[in-house]
Structures are given as structure tokens and as C-alpha cells.
């Protein structure tokens, strides 16, 4: 046992304890193979469902293939579902007393939020990979070469990580797994209210405004641009959709700047 006293020791233990908590998430998955299967099958179902059900009815603006149009939206949807999982896990730990046990142990304090967000990132990658596979199978593909493609995925990962800190904060704030579970369905309208599945042009003005400024739309637009998929907005376009990559980066930075300190404070605050 090395003490947690020196800054270097603290850093090391934050990392080691964080890894232990990542291992914990993997261990939980191992206990629930059903969940793994569900998590892996889900993207495939989404691709098939949206690709063929909506695809049969929706006209892509510049006459492209709907499934080419859809995949960036689905990538965005998966990215934005991440914070819900983190929130539920944090809230469950908080309500079951596991969080208190962590706090009463001589472990690195920052390990819990960092471990939790790190675990989400790790478990998110295979899901993304499956989604890519499903997309390729139904005829989607990136058209602009390696670098832009990598940039698109990097954007998703950066935003996903930033969002997972929102999950940490909200989970710590609600402290109740039932409330957290009840909040999960709220994620759906949030992703639907965007350009992920349909162009925003047809929406009534106020709704279109919300959809255009929704970060889901920015991520979708950014990936369409970087993958060279159809659906690039034309005409009078809202600022976030005209500069989608910058918008996504700004969103990520803003979320991190706001929610990392908030979460750390909420986690370390004593007195309740």
C-alpha cells in the first residue's frame, strides 16, 4: 500500500482505481450476457428499422440514398444515449450506498467519476463498431477518405465523453435510481427533435429552431459532411448547421468546462 499523500501517488492511484472501476463495469457485463447481446443487437435493429421503414417514405433533400443519410443520424443517436447510461449507474450507486462506501474508503477520490466516464467510453466503442458494420451492410459508406472519416469518429467520441460527464452530474444530483430510470425515455424525443432522421426544413418555425440548435443535429451534420453523405443543408442555414464541426467542438468544450467541475464538486461534497 502506497500512501495517497504525494501528488504523484495520488495521480497513480486515481488511475489504478479508475481502472478497477472500469473493470467493474466489464465484470457487470460479464454477469449479464443478455445485456451484451441486447446492446450489440440494438444498433443493428435501429439500422434495419429506420433504414427500411422510414427509408421507404422519406425523400432525402438532394436525392441521395436514405440509408446513407440515416447512418450519421444513428451514430449521433448512439452518442447521445451514452449519458443516460452513466446517469443511471451513478444514481444507482448513490441510492444503494455504494457511493458512500467508496467515499468512506481510502481510495482516490477522483477515481469514481473518471472511472465511470472511462468505462462508458470503453463500452461505447464496440457498440459504435457494430453500428459501422451494420451501416456498411446496408450500403452506407464514408466517401471522403481516411482522415475525414477518422475525424468524424473522433468527434463522436469527444462529444460522447463530454456528455458522459453530464450523466455523472445528473446521476449524482438525482441520487435515486428510479428517478434516473424514469428519465431515460426523455432521451428519445431529444434525439428525434433534430435532423438525424428527417430534414428540419419541413418543421414549423419554432420547432425547426430547436432542432437546428440541438447538438444532435450538429453532430449529425458534421458526420454527414466528413463522411460525404447526402443531406448537407442548403439555402438559409442556421449557424450551427453551417459550421457543424466547430459547433460540436464548442459543445464538447462547454459541457466539459461546466460539468467536470460540477460533478467533482458534487462527488466530493460532504455534509449530506
Amino acid at each position: 500500500m502506497t500512501a495517497l499523500t504525494s501528488p504523484l501517488g495520488r495521480l497513480r492511484w486515481t488511475f489504478t482505481d479508475g481502472l478497477t472501476l472500469v473493470g467493474r463495469e466489464l465484470g457487470r457485463l460479464r454477469q449479464e450476457p443478455g445485456q451484451i447481446v441486447a446492446a450489440l443487437v440494438f444498433p443493428v435493429i435501429m439500422v434495419v428499422l429506420f433504414g427500411y421503414v422510414f427509408g421507404s417514405a422519406i425523400q432525402v433533400p438532394d436525392g441521395g440514398d436514405y440509408r446513407e443519410y440515416l447512418m450519421p443520424g444513428l451514430f449521433a443517436m448512439v452518442t447521445f444515449s451514452a449519458w443516460l447510461g452513466v446517469m443511471t449507474r451513478m444514481a444507482t450507486d448513490a441510492s444503494r450506498g455504494v457511493m458512500d462506501r467508496f467515499r468512506s474508503m481510502p481510495m482516490a477520490r477522483l477515481a469514481v467519476p473518471f472511472g465511470q466516464t472511462g468505462a462508458d467510453l470503453l463500452t461505447g466503442l464496440p457498440m459504435l463498431a457494430i453500428m459501422v458494420g451494420a451501416g456498411l451492410l446496408v450500403g452506407w459508406q464514408p466517401h471522403r477518405g481516411l482522415i475525414p472519416t477518422a475525424q468524424a469518429f473522433l468527434l463522436m467520441i469527444v462529444l460522447r465523453y463530454a456528455l458522459s460527464w453530464v450523466g455523472v452530474y445528473v446521476g449524482l444530483a438525482v441520487k435515486n435510481d428510479q428517478v434516473a430510470d424514469a428519465m431515460v425515455p426523455l432521451g428519445l424525443p431529444f434525439t428525434m427533435l433534430s435532423n438525424a432522421f428527417v430534414p428540419t426544413d419541413g418543421m414549423p418555425g419554432w420547432l425547426r429552431f430547436l432542432a437546428d440548435w440541438n447538438p444532435v443535429s450538429a453532430l449529425t451534420a458534421a458526420s454527414r459532411e466528413l463522411f460525404g453523405n447526402p443531406g448537407a443543408p442548403s439555402g438559409n442555414v442556421a449557424w450551427p448547421l453551417a459550421h457543424p464541426v466547430t459547433t460540436v467542438l464548442l459543445w464538447s468544450a462547454a459541457l466539459l468546462v461546466i460539468f467536470v467541475p460540477l460533478s467533482l464538486r458534487a462527488y466530493m461534497r460532504r455534509g449530506r
Binding site: G23, R24, R96, V98, R101, P106, R270, R272
Partner: protein
């Protein structure tokens, strides 16, 4: 070392308008079990959370093994184990998985964490269930796992917040046995409970708290002695009631209460009156008793008596 392991002095804690603690004092000598008794909302959990460094007091201070719970929280954490009011384990992991994880988080090496997990599972009878996810555990098994999770680092002080609430008598007995074993190893235990018999069985000393203050302390016997023994007499003939009343009044120094037409009871001061003396006195007065019984009060009675009062005792 004779210094107490747990010391709390004048702890205050408010949540909004609720004064959960108003000047709580506690002292637990090394290697003993202190039972903290109190009705719902008395402030038990609040006190335990402060002692376990989870929350800061508004006023007053507390030391564990000589370390201040606020200023030296890290050192305190290295020496305590906390089993909260609800089993705080990861339900989706197996019992073994939980112990290994908490072992690693306690900064044991992987090998030591695995070895310690097996040792604890074996010693506390959870080996058979070790590889099942905790969701499938019974309430008793879950509490036991929660308890042994606190033991990974062999803590000097163990805080148990209502360790057996909601358990059936058998599981409760098993938890009690485990706690006794720990005390035999020299662990100091602070245990909160609403079950008086639990405190009676386990605690060397009891602190009764109500409205955030300690209103009585002592060994279980001392506390029982404060309210005296209870004498119940059932008469053969209800007509003898007035005479019996007079006899008992003289013996006890207080007015007996009639619980039935032919039954009366009175609290005797702890004077060492024996059953035989009482029967003889009744006999002298010509009262035929069908049944006379003298019994120590239960801690429940002590508790009810104490917590009904408005002003602190002593």
C-alpha cells in the same frame, strides 16, 4: 492504549430546519461494542455518517483512533469500515467480484485482494454463493457480504448502521455471531439499532439517543436498573384487591396499577426484594395469590420510558 477509539464531542448537525444532532457526545473504548439506540429520526445515521467522514458536523468534533474526522479524514478512512443502513454492494457483480473489487480499491495487490476475498467468503460462510450475482442473494446473505466488505482491510473501528434491520431471526443470529467474532479479534464496533435485544446481546455499553442527544448511557443492566423490576400479581379472589394494593404500595413505595379486576402490577425500585419476601408479605395480609411474578424490565421498556421523556435524564 487506553484512549477511546471513538470520541464525539458536542456534535451538531442541521438539515434546513431539522436539527438532526444537537450536541451529541459519545466515547467508545477500544475493543468494545457500543450500541446506539434511538427511535426513527433520532439522529443515529447522521452521527454514523459524520464519524465515518461522509459528512461534516456543523459544530463539535470527533476523533477516530485519535484522528480528527474532518481534518484527517484520509487517515480515518484507512482505519474504519462502514456498513450503512442498506447493503452497499454491487448487485450485478458476484459476491467474490464485489470483494475483489473493494479489495483492489483498498489498494491491495491483485493477488492479495483475491486471497482476502476467499478468506472472508470462507470464514463467513458465503463460499457456496461466491460466484453468484448478488441480485440472487437473500437479504441475510447480502447483509453478511456487506459486513465482510468492511473487513477487507481489518479495520480498527467498524460502524454498523442497523445491521440486521429487515432480517429474519436466523439471519440476524448469524450476523450477531459474525459481529462477536470480530470483537473477539479486537475490533471496536459502534452499532446503531432499533432492536433492543440486539443491543442487549451485543453491546458492552449503550447510548440511548433521542432528538440528537444522548439521553442515557450505561451497560444494559445499568439501564434496566434505572427503572426497576416489574412485579405482576394475579389474585385468586378479586375481592382481595384493596388489601393487595396496600401491601404492594408499602413494598414498592408507589401506587400499583390494576390491569384487570384480579390483576395488579407495580414497578419495584432496584432494592433487591426477592420474590419470596413478596409472597410472604401478601400471605401475612391474608391475600391469596394465584400467580406472582417478578421480572427484569426488557430494554424495550427502558427505551420507551426514556424516549417518552421531554427533558434529558441526569
Amino acid at each position: 492504549m487506553t484512549d477511546p477509539m471513538v470520541v464525539a464531542e458536542g456534535l451538531h448537525k442541521s438539515f434546513g430546519n431539522t436539527h438532526a444532532l444537537r450536541g451529541l457526545d459519545l466515547s467508545v473504548p477500544r475493543g468494545t461494542v457500543c450500541g446506539v439506540l434511538g427511535p426513527n429520526g433520532a439522529g443515529k445515521t447522521t452521527a454514523v455518517r459524520i464519524l465515518a467522514t461522509l459528512s461534516d458536523p456543523d459544530a463539535g468534533h470527533a476523533r477516530i483512533a485519535g484522528y480528527d474526522v474532518v481534518r484527517e479524514a484520509g487517515k480515518v478512512r484507512a482505519r474504519i469500515g462502514l456498513a450503512g443502513q442498506y447493503a452497499a454492494v454491487d448487485e450485478k457483480l458476484t459476491g467474490r467480484g464485489n470483494l475483489r473489487m473493494f479489495g483492489r480499491l483498498s489498494h491491495l495487490s491483485r493477488r492479495d485482494a483475491h486471497r482476502r476475498a476467499d478468506e472472508l467468503l470462507e470464514r463467513f460462510g458465503l463460499m457456496d454463493a461466491a460466484d453468484r450475482p448478488v441480485v440472487g442473494y437473500s437479504g441475510g446473505m447480502r447483509r453478511r457480504l456487506d459486513l465482510i466488505t468492511c473487513l477487507i482491510l481489518r479495520p480498527d473501528v467498524l460502524f454498523l448502521d442497523e445491521p440486521t434491520t429487515g432480517l429474519d431471526p436466523r439471519s440476524r443470529g448469524e450476523i450477531w455471531d459474525s459481529i462477536r467474532e470480530l470483537v473477539a479479534d479486537g475490533t471496536t464496533v459502534l452499532l446503531t439499532t432499533q432492536y433492543l435485544d440486539e443491543a442487549d446481546h451485543l453491546a458492552d455499553a449503550i447510548a440511548v439517543i433521542d432528538h440528537g442527544q444522548v439521553i442515557a448511557t450505561g451497560t444494559p443492566d445499568e439501564l434496566k436498573a434505572t427503572i426497576g423490576d416489574r412485579l405482576d400479581v394475579t389474585l385468586e379472589d378479586p375481592a382481595a384487591l384493596p388489601t393487595a394494593m396496600t401491601v404492594l404500595n408499602t413494598l414498592a413505595g408507589t401506587e400499583p396499577t390494576t390491569t384487570d379486576a384480579d390483576r395488579l402490577s407495580v414497578t419495584l425500585p432496584a432494592t433487591g426484594l426477592r420474590l419470596a419476601d413478596i409472597v410472604r408479605e401478601l400471605d401475612h395480609a391474608g391475600v391469596a395469590a394465584a400467580d406472582v411474578s417478578l421480572r427484569r424490565p426488557t430494554l424495550d421498556e427502558v427505551f420507551l420510558r426514556l424516549t417518552n421523556r421531554e427533558e434529558p435524564v441526569q
